[in-house]
C-alpha cells in the first residue's frame, strides 16, 4: 500500500497536525484490535524496533512495536512543537522530524518564504528525503498550514515548491486555513495572496478551510448539546468531542474542537485508500476526477454527520439526511453556498454501512437541486469505505469543485487591495532579500486570473445548453 507524509508548518499547521495524529491513532486502535502492524497503519506510520535504542530499523510485518508518524514538523517558534513533545504524542515523533527556530516569521510571508526558506532548505530536503526513504511507495504529501501568518504561509508554500522540485511524482495536497475577515494579523491579506500564487501553481489539490466556518460549526454543535434536545443522545466519543473525555472540556480548549474537524477531514479523505471497501477511492483519483483544469484545484469540503446519535439502528431517513446536510451551507468548511453556485465536479466519500443503492438514491434525489457545468452533467465521483469513523456508523465527506470558492478569493483580493493601495507595511516585505514589488503584482494578477476563470464558468450557468455537434460519419 502507498504511503503519505504529513508536513505541518507553523503554529496552526502543527496544532491541526497534532489533532490529526491523535485521531489517526485512535482510529487505527479501534479497527486494528490485534495490534498487528498492517498495511493500513503503514500509510501514515512506521513501525520501529526501538529495543536497540534510538531509531531502529523498520519492521514491516508483525506486532506493533513503536509507531512513528510519517511527518515533518516545521515551526519557526518553538512553542507549539515543544508542547507536542511534552504531550501524549511525544513518542510518535523524534527529533529527526523536527525543524524549529526561535525567532518566528513575524507574520511576514517574505521572511518565512525567502529567509527561512533559504536558511532551512537543505535541512528540510534532508528530512523529507529521510521520510521518503522509509516509504516503499510514497504517494502523497499533505501540507497543513495557515495562509495568514508568516511561517505557515511563507515557509509552507516554500516547502510546497520544494516538494515539486524534489518529488515531482508525488501528489501534493494542501490543507490551507484561510484567515477570517476580523483576523488580528494586519498583514494577513498580503500573506494570503502571496501564498495563493504558490498554491495556484504548485499544488495538486487545495482544501481551503475558514476559521469562521469551523467556529460556527463548533458553536452550533454546542448550542444543540446545551439546548438539551440532543444532549442525552449525543455520544461521548463522537467526532468533535473525541479529543477529550467529555463535551465540557471542549470549552477549555476551544481550538481543539475546530482542529478536530480539519483532522477528521484528512482522515476521511484518506480512509478509502487505507481501509477495504466495495468501491475504493485512492488519493490520486481525487485530483483526477475533481480537477478538470490544472489551476482550478480548490475543493470545498463538508463533513457529516458532525455528531452521532446513540441509536445504532440508523433509519435510512437519517442516512439521507447525512447526504442533504453535506450540501447545506452550514456544513461547508468555508463560507460558501455550493447549492447556488456552479459545480464542476463533486466527490462523495462515504464510510461505514452504506451501499451503492444508498448512494444512487441520494444522488438522484439531490441532483435536480444542483447546478453542474454543461459538459459535466454527471460529474459525480464516489467511494465506499467499509470502515466507519470511530463512534459512527457511517459518515460522508463531500468534496466540491464549485465556483462558490470565488467569493472567498474576491474578499481576499479586496482586503489585499485595501492595504496595497496605501502601500501599507510593504517595506517589511521589500527589505527581505529577493522580495520585490513585482512579487505583489504578480501574486495579485495570479489571483485575479483565477477569479476570472471562475467567472467564465459562472457565465455559462443558466444559459441555454447547446451541445457541440458530433463527428459525422459517411456511412
Amino acid at each position: 500500500m502507498a504511503q503519505s507524509v504529513v508536513v505541518q508548518v507553523g503554529q496552526c499547521g502543527n496544532q491541526v497536525g497534532c489533532r490529526f495524529w491523535d485521531l489517526a491513532l485512535r482510529e487505527h486502535a479501534a479497527v486494528n484490535k490485534k495490534g498487528i502492524y498492517d498495511e493500513a497503519l503503514s500509510s501514515f506510520f512506521r513501525n520501529i524496533d526501538t529495543r536497540s535504542g534510538g531509531d531502529g530499523p523498520d519492521i514491516y510485518k508483525g506486532k506493533i512495536c513503536s509507531l512513528k508518524a510519517r511527518a515533518l514538523l516545521i515551526d519557526m517558534e518553538e512553542g507549539v512543537v515543544n508542547e507536542i513533545l511534552q504531550g501524549p504524542l511525544r513518542d510518535v515523533f523524534d527529533s529527526k522530524q523536527l525543524i524549529t527556530d526561535v525567532s518566528g516569521s513575524g507574520n511576514n510571508w517574505a521572511v518565512g518564504h525567502k529567509v527561512y526558506g533559504c536558511q532551512y532548505r537543505d535541512d528540510i530536503v534532508e528530512k523529507l528525503r529521510k521520510n521518503a526513504e522509509h516509504c516503499d511507495c510514497l504517494q502523497c504529501f499533505f501540507i497543513i498550514h495557515s495562509m495568514g501568518g508568516g511561517t505557515g504561509s511563507g515557509l509552507g508554500t516554500f516547502v510546497l515548491n520544494l516538494l515539486e522540485d524534489e518529488f515531482p511524482e508525488v501528489y501534493r495536497f494542501v490543507t490551507s486555513v484561510y484567515p477570517s475577515g476580523e483576523d488580528d494579523v494586519i498583514t494577513s491579506p498580503y500573506n494570503s495572496v502571496l501564498a495563493m500564487k504558490e498554491l495556484n501553481e504548485h499544488a495538486d489539490c487545495v482544501l481551503p478551510i475558514e476559521n469562521e466556518s469551523l467556529f460556527d460549526i463548533v458553536n452550533k454543535i454546542h448550542q444543540m448539546i446545551n439546548s438539551g434536545k440532543l444532549g442525552s443522545t449525543v455520544k461521548q466519543n463522537s467526532l468533535v468531542t473525541s479529543s477529550a473525555g467529555s463535551a465540557k472540556s471542549v470549552q477549555e480548549k476551544p481550538f481543539d474542537a475546530m482542529n478536530n474537524i480539519v483532522a477528521n477531514l484528512l482522515l476521511n479523505l484518506t480512509s478509502s485508500a487505507r481501509f477495504e471497501g466495495s468501491l475504493n477511492m485512492d488519493l490520486n483519483e481525487i485530483s483526477m476526477n475533481l480537477v478538470p483544469f490544472p489551476r482550478l484545484h480548490y475543493l470545498v469540503s463538508s463533513l457529516t454527520p458532525l455528531y452521532t446519535l446513540a441509536d445504532v439502528n440508523v433509519p435510512s431517513r437519517r442516512l439521507d439526511q447525512m447526504f442533504s446536510d453535506a450540501f447545506s451551507r452550514d456544513h461547508q468548511l468555508i463560507q460558501a453556498d455550493p447549492k447556488h453556485s456552479l459545480y464542476l465536479a463533486c466527490a462523495l466519500l462515504v464510510r461505514g454501512n452504506v451501499q451503492v443503492s444508498d448512494l444512487r438514491r441520494n444522488i438522484e434525489r439531490l441532483k435536480p437541486s444542483l447546478h453542474f457545468v454543461s459538459w459535466n452533467q454527471e460529474g459525480w465521483k464516489t467511494g465506499l469505505c467499509s470502515v466507519p469513523p470511530v463512534g459512527h456508523s457511517h459518515s460522508l465527506l463531500a468534496l466540491a469543485n464549485n465556483t462558490c470558492v470565488k467569493p472567498t478569493f474576491i474578499e481576499l483580493k479586496d482586503r489585499f487591495m485595501k492595504l496595497y493601495k496605501k502601500k501599507a507595511h510593504l517595506h517589511h516585505y521589500l527589505h527581505v532579500d529577493g522580495m520585490e514589488q513585482s512579487c505583489f503584482s504578480e501574486a495579485m494578477s495570479s489571483l485575479s486570473d483565477l477569479i476570472e476563470e471562475y467567472n467564465e464558468l459562472d457565465a455559462t450557468k443558466g444559459g441555454p445548453r447547446t451541445d457541440p455537434s458530433r463527428l459525422k460519419i459517411a456511412v
Binding site: S357, R360, W375, K381, P468, L471, V475
Partner: protein, 453 residues
Amino acid sequence: MSIVTVQLGQCGNQIGREVFNTICSDARGAHGLCSKKENESYHDTCKERFFFEEESEVPVARAVLVDMEPKVIGQTLSMAARSGCWKYDGHSHFCQKQGSGNNWANGYSVHGPRHKEAIMNLVQKEAEKCDRLSGFFTIMSMAGGTGSGLGAFVTQCLRDAFPTSFILNHVIWPYGTGEVIVQNYNSVLTLSHLYQSSDALLVHENDVIHKICAQLMNIKQISFRDVNQVIAHQLGSVFQPTYAGEGGLLYSRNPLGDLMETLVPHPEFKMLGLRNIPQMPENSLAYSTFTWPGLIKHLRQMLIANAKMEEGIDWQVRPPRLGSSIPSGCSTNKPLHFNTSIANLVILRGKDVHSVDLGSFWDPSLYTSWLNPQDAFHAWKTPRAFNKYEKSASLVSNSQFLLKPLDNVVGKAWNMFASKAYIHQYTKYGIEEEDFLDSFTALEQVISSYTIL
C-alpha cells in the same frame, strides 16, 4: 478445453471471484435435476474449463489477478480461500502499491508497459497449464484506470502473444452517473482500443443489473456484491457446459470459439449483450413454475423490444414485415423501438430442454438483411439445470442492444472533449488529443454501422 480468466482492477477482481464462486457451487450442486452420468460429465467439463486440480486439493481457478493496488487482491484471495470449495493459485496474481487513479492513460501508457513482462509471465504460466487453451476471458470495468487502461493494454498484449487464441472481454459499463467523473473518456478510450484487439466485448450495464437487483431480486439495500452476483449468475448461464450444437452428443470443448463463430465474425460488430430469465430471489424459486413456451416468448420479446429484464417489457413492439422493406440502410420502415439483430445465441438449461420450440427465433425479420437465420441464430442446450433454476434461458445477442448506451457515452465524452476538460490529466501520461480523436472516430463508425443494420 480451458479458459484463462484475467481479472483486472477492483471491479474485475470482485466480479471474477463471484463468477468462480457461482460456477463452482453450481457444478458441485446436486440439484442438477438430471441423471448422475449427465451431472458427472457436466461437472468434468466445467472443471476442465475453469479449474485445474492439484493432487486431492481443492480446485484452483485458472485465473490471473491483476490490480495496481493491493487491497482488493488481498481481499479476493482470502475470500476465495475461505470458501473452501475452490481457491486461487497463490502465485497467480500481480499487484502494485498504488492504483491508476481512474486515469486510463496511467493504466495504459505507464503501468501497462512497466509491468507487461510480469503480467504476461503469469498469463503464460496459466496458459501452459491448459491441455487445450480455448482463450482468454478478461473481466474489467471501463470506468476506472486499471481495469480500463491496463485492461486495454493487457488485451493488446494477449492478442500479440496469443494470436490464435480467442479473447473475450467482459466489460462493465459504469452507472450513467456517479462512479467516476472521467468515466466517459475512459470508456471511449477503452472501447476503441478493445475493438482493435479483442474478438468480442460482452457488456453488462451496472444500471441494468442494479434494476434487476431492485425489481427482480427484491433487494432493498443493494451492494456491489449483490450486483456482482447477478452478473456472475448471468455469465455462468452462458459459460457453464452445454452440448455442442443441435443434437450434439458431447459437451462442447470449444466454448469461446463456438460463441465467437456464431456471434461475432464480422469485424465491425463485436458488442454482445446478455439477457437471462428467470431471475428471482432464491426463496421464491421454490414456489414458481415456468413453462418453456412462456420463457421463450418472454425472451424473444425482450430481444425485439430491447427490454433489459423480464419486467416492463413493451409487448407492442413487432418485427417489421419483410418483403415490403427496402434493403438495409433505410430504417424508416422499421417499427419504432424495434431492435434489429445481427446474430443471436439462445442457451437453454434444464428439464425437457430438447422439446423446446425455438421457431420464433428463426424468423428472418429479426435479423439484418444480409444474414439469414441459419447463419444468424444458434441454440445451445443441456438438460442439466443451472444454479437451482429448474429451467432457465439465456440470450447472447449481437444486436442494437448497446447502441443507445454507446451513443450516450460517446456523446457525453465528446461534450467534455469539446471544452478540453480533463485533457491535461491524460496528456501528462502521453495520451494526446489526437488519440482521443482517433478513438472518437472509430466509435462513431461503430455507432453508424449498428444504426443502419
